[in-house]
Amino acid sequence: MPEPPRTGSRTLSEPDSKALLSAHGVPIAPERVVAGVDDAVAAATELGFPVVVKLAGDAIAHKTERGLVRLGVADESAARIAATELLAAATPEDGEVALLVAPMLRGQRELIAGLADDPQFGTTVMVGVGGVLAEAVADVSLRLVPISRIDAEEMIDDLATQALLGPFRGEPAIDRDALADVLLALSTAAEADPTIVSADLNPLIVVDGRPIAVDALVEVER
């Protein structure tokens, strides 16, 4: 279970995290950021059900653990209930909050990718098997930033759970080039912005073989 950011760093909100990383080419699921319940319902209707509704804010780092993510919201009335409950769940410590509405992406495989600061070796980039079991399974591989495309490809090759990367339960094999692109984009982001302390793309859902980040958390120096 992740801990609060260390002193000297702070986390960005989910929309800001995604904006920072997508500027460097990380594929992010389309989403709307809205302030109120009515806008959330309208955004959901426009995106098409089912959707995901989340509460986002600079001080909110780990939404799942706090129950601030509603998956598979099926229709307008469900969207209204979800939005209302999420806003009500905000605490004063959360500061300014917003609702984030995104289409519910379907994929049976979840990966994790990110950046982490190593005390000896500096910024590292990581890919691994994701989802709720990510830390228990701990099938990850890392390299030091910056990485080459060959490094990115070898990181993927180094994962133990190769069966998960091939064709899987009716879904096509993971597009390794697209996954390598994600890792290169993370490496580029870290190189371009030395204030980044860490980044999580968790999960990186595999949709039709292509990885797409549905959540992002970036920790930056204060």
């Binding site: 992740p2 990110g114 982490a116 591989s141 890392l142 968790n202």
Partner: protein, 492 residues
């Protein structure tokens, strides 16, 4: 002013050595180091200092460096107490010494005062233009110069592996493996506290050293990770570099604000760093030595396809399992190779990989089949099993009550000749085809004088104590080959 290169040259190929603090007490470092230096046949000038000016092992020592001739020694091996060392180094530098190996303790490992003394020593060595090895190290070995300036045994056979270690005891371990296996060492150094010269510094020098073709290092802490990475990557680009790291589990999963951070343990980062740098990381000290010995004595495979050749079934099965679990590939036996082997063997042979000769071999079958397998373009490497079993039986006959009668003398001689021939063939075919051929048998350790393993050693190669260990070593070779192929680097 001495250049760093002159300092390294003086450390590894000194024209003369001073043992500072030589002792008449055979239990003291100042005695042992002089003993080891003399016993290994070092041909340069040998001097010793001793407060009483005593004779030690026939070397007439002097009470002060000042009494020594100028320019005769370029390495000082320091066994004196830390407090005496600054004056000693000054006097040595004045006599033309270019490198100091300091065994003395009481430095960085000994609290704040020791750390200050160490920093002062480094500054002094810089000022004097001395290459400073150690302090708190066990010594230096260099087979091209027959140099064994260390406070521990052994002096290893000559070879091409260059050892650098943060732990002096692991230098001994690697050298002991060299003695056992016959796969030799070029240079070896215990970095001690590595106050001025670090493990990567030694490795970088080895990379440019024509006597060294493979680096082998034990590391614990890494102070500056990026500098370490840059150095080992540059070394690994020039030659195979095998690292074993202590403290791999220390820290474990760390507290972090991100999932990525908590998954990025020290060990996983180190592992990724090695992969990125093209460095071979071994899990254990013996695996590290065997990987280095394999790099030093076998060509790199151009691909992952391995054929196992065995004289008995079970060994082949287990080896096939190990290959299948690795990133190597148990090759499908090509049709034309199958047919060619079939010409040489009775019908009961396995007809697939592993190629089990099933006792169908006659006088020349093993070298012939090996030749066919290794010569085939769809085979990248061979593991050969079963060497020495006939000589093992021969030994029992030779030492039994019936020898040399009943035809025993003749059959014993035949078996021993044959096993030696098979071992020689493995090396010869490997050299000719440019493909690795690894011979594995427990007789390498159970009966090292068996003519099979003995002949493997005589060919300069490692006789692997088990097929599993041969597979691990071969996989290390393949991973390096793959790293280089992907980056367009030549296979070496």
């Amino acid at each position: 002013m001495t250049t760093r290169e002159e300092g390294f040259r003086a450390l590894f190929d000194p024209k003369g050595v001073i043992i500072a603090g030589a002792s008449t007490h055979p239990g003291k470092f100042g005695f042992v180091s002089l003993h080891n230096l003399l016993a290994s046949g070092y041909r340069g000038a040998v001097f010793a200092t001793n407060r009483e000016g005593a004779d030690v092992l026939g070397v007439r020592s002097v009470a002060s460096i000042d009494e020594l001739p100028d320019g005769q020694a370029d390495l000082v091996f320091v066994c004196t107490p830390a407090a005496a060392n600054p004056d000693l180094l000054r006097a040595c530098a004045a006599k033309g010494v270019k490198a100091a190996f300091v065994t003395s303790a009481g430095y960085g490992e000994a609290g704040d005062e020791g750390r200050r003394a160490e920093a002062d020593l480094v500054a002094l060595a810089d000022e004097l233009g001395l290459l400073l090895a150690g302090p708190n190290g066990q010594g230096v070995v260099s087979t091209p110069s027959l140099l064994c300036a260390q406070i521990v045994a052994p002096f290893p056979p000559a070879g091409h592996i260059g050892v650098a270690s943060q732990s002096g005891n692991f230098v001994s371990s690697f050298l002991n493996y060299a003695v056992q296996t016959g796969v030799g060492i070029s240079r070896a150094v215990s970095a001690g506290n590595a106050a001025a010269v670090t493990v990567p510094d030694y490795l970088s020098w080895y990379a440019a050293d024509p006597e060294t073709s493979v680096g082998l290092a034990y590391v614990e802490g890494v102070a500056d990770g990026r500098a370490f990475f840059d150095a080992v990557r540059a070394v690994a680009e020039d030659m195979p570099l095998v690292l074993v790291k202590g403290g791999a589990t220390a820290g474990g999963q760390r507290a972090a604000a991100s999932h990525t951070g908590s998954l990025a343990s020290d060990d996983r980062v180190f592992d990724g760093m090695c992969r990125q740098a093209g460095v071979t990381r071994a899990a254990t000290v013996e695996e590290a030595f065997e990987a280095a010995a394999t790099f030093a004595t076998q060509p790199l495979p151009a691909g992952p396809r391995v054929v196992v050749m065995t004289t008995a079934g079970g060994w082949g099965v287990v080896t096939a399992d190990a290959i299948t679990k690795s990133s190597l590939v148990l090759a499908d036996l090509p049709r034309d190779l199958h047919d060619a082997i079939d010409e040489l063997l009775p019908p009961r042979w396995s007809r697939s990989n592993p190629v089990d000769l099933a006792g169908g071999e006659t006088r020349d079958t093993i070298p012939q089949v090996l030749e066919l397998i290794a010569g085939h373009p769809d085979v990248d490497a061979v593991i050969q099993l079963g060497l020495g079993i006939q000589s093992n039986q021969a030994e029992m006959m030779r030492s039994g009550p019936f020898y040399p009668d009943h035809g025993l003398e003749r059959i014993v001689a035949y078996h021993e000749r044959q096993d030696a021939r098979f071992a020689a063939a493995a090396a010869e075919v490997s050299e000719r085809t440019g493909k690795p051929i690894l011979v594995a048998t427990e007789l390498a350790v159970a009966a090292p004088d068996n003519p099979g393993p003995a002949a493997v050693r005589a060919s300069g190669r490692l006789c692997y104590p088990s097929a599993n260990r041969a597979v691990v070593a071969l996989e290390h070779l393949w991973r390096r080959a793959q790293h280089r192929q992907r980056r367009g680097l030549p296979l070496r």
